[in-house]
Amino acid sequence: MAELSPALETARLILRGRPAELDAAEVALGFALPREACRSAGVSGRHALWLGPDEWLLLAPAAVADALTAMLEAATAQAPHALVDVSQRQIGLTLSGSDVEETLAAGCPLDLDLKAFPVGMCTRTVLAKAEIVLWRTDEATFHIEVWRSFSAYVRGILEVAGATVS
């Protein structure tokens, strides 16, 4: 049965802007923002998740939140963009185990097969009646981001789903 656990405390920033004007942000981040739809990129605990053609979710260790924000704001001062701290807006959950796909499939209508949803893929989607961000971090592990007031619901769904798999 798939295991559900809270993810580590994380800093979260939403970075928005025209892709062509965000080179400076990449320098500050230390890696290129994923420009391909529904893909993630990252180095050393920092990740950028493509959420839309002008929207990335940046994840970083909680401790570096302020520094990262300052660095990004400084680097992008000249480029029109929006950087908004959403560290507390949502929480992270990790779901892992041999039947993660089936467990999620109780409420998520996406094709979660490894071929259709490879490691590194990320996207906003729905889990039953809640919106989530789903990010596959390895074959048998998904990282889930969910707005905090929906987290009890998402946990509830995943628990029931886990109990009804196979």
Partner: protein, 998 residues
């Protein structure tokens, strides 16, 4: 109990494992592997139910999901009682308790049978013609009586304790039906290495091959049909990406190749594991679909064809070969097609006496008929079955030989204890048709077949009109191969006896007079006479005939009957069948449990329960909550047995006298960021934003482009290019979506981006004259003074050790602050403020007090004062409009003449002449007392409370031309008479607005 009708050997039941069960309380014994129907037949029980209308005794007709008659309720316990189950699909388990339905007092002696005696006076649609007088008698007399007589089983009365599962699935190829066609298709598709799902509604795969006798002649690739099934399963199991699901009915074919499948998980178990889901809904999205759903045997339509013991020939063969159950000891076979001979032969070999084979065809020929002749079976050609004898079970069959020139010859009755009948097979095109594929009439086969596809789908085997086994397998191989884009490669060598697939349609000729009842739709008691009556009464469309007679509308949806009904109607109309048309196939293929469609959504998971970081504190402090959208909001905090009025009164006084603390977290928040942020705000909101300085706030109003108020909220300017926008709790998603809409599609050139921050911040409102004092000790580096942080301003700072956006705003008319802190620190800051406030009389208040306090100030609530037809001016917000702005969303609409009609409803205050009298929200307002209905209504009360601070009742109202009526006395009609009210300013408290500046 002996099982007298069990064959000596054979079948796929486990004869070594007896299973005890009861039917209507009587104990019986069956075998593991039996269905309830096969076990009852093996016990010689044929009477299983009563029909819907005439309460005629009925027995098992079929062996599958097409069963119209044998509906039973299965009862596990008080709460687990399921009505209307088909006995042919109920798997036997130890202790199974089944009961019959729609009879009183007992199945064998049913008073409802009176309807049968009345039958000639209550034909199809009789109720449209009578019960009209006297006027009130319909509701009181006739309808209750009709309702009591109608219906089938009893609905459960206790809540269902079982759980249901859901699974979204995806595959490249979905094969529906695991008969020879489906198995062949799945094996072919599996070769592609992609995901293949094979589903079948039966307990095991094999489809019609399961009906072959174990030692019968049919072989595929030189092995018996049964071995071939096992071999095929083993082959499929070797592919890791192939999934085979049995007890799984594809019930619906939805747009874009999504198929709904119900998998039955525990109903067949004597002791289901605790907590195991009862059924699972699969929603399968397939690139390609292969339909291999087979064909359904058609009954013959002749008088008294509904007597228990009259059974479909193919079903009889199934009962014998698959379940070792004998339909009788001396049987008559009535047929219009070859396949019934197979049943006759198998039964004959099992030692059953074949009393007669009556074939309506004049000169049929073929290997099966030849074999029957060789076996010495008594065959009569050109011989109609015209009736049956017996009461609760057949005792004989009547025949009529039709002479060469078509005249009725001699009649005769043959004794028997079962009648096997077959009119041929109707391909199962249900799912194909649901997919919106176009059916085509096949004049050869006399049936509808899949024509033009609408989805990426292929039909194979009997459902496509292919009935010879070799052809069926070839069809499956071809469909499976095509689904993965390859040429078919596998060939099959088949030894089977060929059968002419043609059958007969419609009513057989008979000599029984006009009143004889030849049933077409068994369950709904529709006879040929009913269908003809409908035609006689002018119902020419088959859709009308269906609705007038209810043919095809029962729980089997006409699986066995629709084509016969069509033929009867066509012949009555004198038109060819394809010109009469078809009724629409709709989901579900077989009835689907409500619970499994509801799935996981029950109890707390019915819908998300959204709570704020302060929820736990509120619970601990006895809050009473209200639902606002999905949120739980504290409504009031009763103390020591207070009711809501008392609590609210206390909370209201406390806020104005000292201070109150309120959880405003649920308000929507949007961060509007970018160089064009102010321009964007200018275009969206009615207000002007350019001049709003950084650190300042403004009350914003948002209209739709039709000029009506949609939402409101305080907006703070955090930086030149950054606004902190708040919305109503319920409007958060709507507002963001509307903003995104304009931004993305109308003004994509603007450099501004929107991010929801509703849940980033916990919002703690501290309101009241003592608010500053309470916070003073908690802030770090923030000057809370009136000068440094005036009303409608904001600052950043640290509150209770937590970085905060601190707003100086008020929805109460008092000195007020709204502390925004990161959500996970919300509870901590709340506690700190709470603790600091205790010395100052700080009181927690909820939404109800918030509503009263704002009403005292005349502040509107969108959705309470407004209802989607109010302009800003209507609700007294005309001042907020940026007069010099060239445009904003809604501006043009506000210029329409009707928007400035002086008769528009406007927001006013109402003061009841009796200060103790509280108006009712929603109460109407009239200008003159004592009117009679319909009254000339000029307005309505939007909010009404007792104001503790003013010690009288207050109300807000929308009144036609209200602002010009100040001082007038109006009336609010109520159950106790017209309540006089005076029109006053909507601002009841602190009209000068001093309080907020405190």
């Amino acid at each position: 109990m002996s099982t007298r009708y069990r064959s000596a050997s054979g079948g796929r039941i486990d004869r070594g494992r007896p299973v005890r069960f009861t039917f209507d309380g009587r104990p019986y014994i069956g075998c593991a592997g039996d269905t309830l129907a096969s076990a009852l037949i093996a016990n010689g029980v044929w009477l299983t139910g009563r029909s819907f209308k005439y309460h005629r005794p009925r027995g098992v007709l079929s062996a599958g999901s097409d069963e119209p008659n044998a509906l039973v309720a299965v009862r596990r316990d008080e709460a687990r009682c399921t009505p209307n189950l088909r006995a042919t699909q109920v798997e036997l388990y130890d202790g199974l308790a089944a009961v019959s339905q729609n009879r009183y007092p007992s199945l064998a002696f049913d008073l409802g049978v009176a309807n049968n005696l009345m039958a000639r006076f209550i034909p199809a649609g009789f109720y449209y013609k009578t019960f009209m007088w006297p006027a009130k008698a319909w509701d009181r007399l006739y309808e209750p009586a009709i309702r009591r007589a109608a219906g089938l089983g009893d609905a459960p009365t206790a809540a269902d304790p079982d759980h249901y599962a859901n699974r979204f699935a995806h595959c490249e190829v979905l094969v529906i039906g695991a008969g020879p066609a489906g198995l062949a298709a799945a094996m072919a598709a599996a070769k592609g290495g992609e995901r293949v799902i094979l589903v079948d509604e039966q307990v095991e795969v094999g489809g019609s091959l399961l009906d072959e006798p174990a030692d019968g002649g049919t072989t595929i690739d030189e092995i018996s049909a049964r071995d071939w099934i096992s071999q095929s399963l083993a082959r499929l199991a070797a592919y890791p990406r192939v999934t085979v699901i049995t007890r799984a009915t594809a019930f619906g074919y939805f747009a874009h190749n999504m198929i709904g499948v119900i998998e039955r998980l525990t109903d067949h178990l004597a002791a289901p594991p605790a907590g195991a889901p009862r059924e699972r809904l699969w929603q399968i999205r397939a690139r390609d679909v292969v339909l291999a759903t087979g064909a359904i045997e058609r009954p013959l339509v002749f008088p008294d064809n509904d007597r228990p013991g009259v059974v479909l020939a193919g079903a009889a063969r199934t009962y014998l070969n698959r379940y070792g159950a004998l339909p009788g000891k001396r049987v008559v076979v009535a047929t219009g097609c070859d396949s019934a001979y197979a049943a006759a032969l198998d039964l004959h070999h099992a030692g059953v006496k074949i009393a007669a084979i009556a074939d309506v065809r004049r000169v049929p020929a073929g290997p099966l008929i030849e074999a029957a002749r060789r076996a010495g079976l008594p065959i009569r050609f050109g011989c109609m079955i015209t009736g049956t004898t017996g009461r609760l079970r057949v005792t004989g069959a009547r025949f009529l030989v039709i002479t060469e020139d078509g005249r009725a010859g001699l009649g005769e009755t043959v004794a028997c204890d079962a009648v096997l009948m077959s009119g041929g097979y109707t391909p199962s095109v249900h799912l194909f048709s649901q997919s919106r594929g176009k059916l085509a009439w096949d004049p050869d086969l006399q049936t509808y077949l899949p024509g033009v596809s609408a989805e990426n789908e292929r039909s194979a085997g009997a459902c496509a009109g292919r009935f010879d086994l070799a052809g069926v397998l070839r069809d499956g191989e071809a469909a499976g191969s095509a689904s993965i884009g390859v040429e078919p490669s596998r060939t099959f060598s088949v030894h089977a006896m060929a059968a002419n697939p043609r059958g007969v349609l419609g009513a057989l000729t008979h000599d029984r007079g006009p009143r004889a009842k030849a049933f077409v739709d068994w369950q709904n008691d529709v006879t040929t006479n009913d269908l003809k009556l409908a035609v006689r009464e002018g119902f020419q469309s088959i859709e009308h005939v269906k609705r007038y007679t209810t043919t095809g509308m029962a729980t089997d949806q006409g699986k066995t009957s629709n084509l016969n009904a069509l033929a009867v109607v066509a012949s009555a109309l004198g038109r060819p069948i394809p010109q009469v048309g078809l009724t629409t196939f709709r989901m579900p293929y077989t009835p689907v449990t409500f619970g499994v469609l509801a799935g996981l959504a029950r109890g707390d998971l019915f819908e998300p329960v959204r709570t704020t970081p302060i929820h736990g504190w509120a619970v601990a402090h006895g809050a009473v909550f209200e639902d606002v959208g999905q949120w739980k909001r504290a409504r009031y905090f009763p103390r020591g047995g207070e009711d809501m009025d008392a609590a609210v009164r206390r909370e209201c006084l406390a806020v104005r006298a000292a201070a109150g603390i309120f959880d405003a977290t649920t308000l929507g928040k949007i961060e509007v960021v970018g160089p064009d942020a102010a321009e964007f705000m200018n275009r969206m909101y009615i207000n002007a934003w350019t001049k709003l300085g950084v650190g300042q706030c403004r009350y914003g109003v948002l209209c739709r482009d039709d000029g009506f108020v949609m939402d409101d909220g305080v907006v703070g300017r955090i930086a030149a290019d950054r606004f902190h926008v708040t919305t109503t709790t319920g409007g958060a998603a709507r507002v963001l979506s509307m903003m995104e809409d304009y931004l993305q599609t109308e003004w994509p050139d603007l450099d501004v981006w929107l991010t929801s921050t509703t849940e980033q911040w916990a919002v703690i409102a501290v309101q009241g004259p003592k608010a500053r004092e309470i916070l003073a000790g908690l802030v770090d580096g923030v000057d809370l003074s009136r000068e440094a942080l005036p009303h409608m301003s904001l600052t950043h700072g640290v509150v209770a050790g937590v970085p905060a956006r601190l707003f100086r705003v008020s929805f109460t008319g008092e000195l007020g602050f709204e502390i925004n802190v990161p959500a996970d620190r919300g509870a901590q800051v709340w506690e700190a403020v709470w603790a600091a406030g205790q010395a100052h009389g700080l009181t927690a208040y909820g939404t109800e007090t918030m509503h009263v306090l704002r009403a005292e100030k005349g502040f509107i609530i969108v959705g309470q004062e407004t209802d989607g037809t109010a302009t800003p001016d209507d609700v007294g917000l005309g001042w907020a409009i940026g007069k010099t702005k060239r445009d904003f969303v809604g501006k043009r609409s506000l210029a329409r003449p009707a928007m400035s009609d002086p008769a528009r409803k406007q927001l006013v205050g109402l003061a009841t002449v009796d200060p103790a009298r509280i108006l009712e929200e929603g109460a109407q307002i009239v200008a003159e007392p004592g009117g009679t209905t319909p009254l000339t209504v000029i307005g309505h009360v939007t909010s009404a409370y007792f104001s503790a601070n003013w010690d009288r009742s207050i109300a807000l109202a929308m009144v036609s031309g209200g602002r010009a009526r100040m001082g007038e006395t109006l009336y609010s009609p109520s159950s106790t008479g017209d309540v006089p009210v005076q029109v006053v300013s909507p601002v009841f408290y602190d009209q000068a607005g001093e309080g907020v500046h405190g």
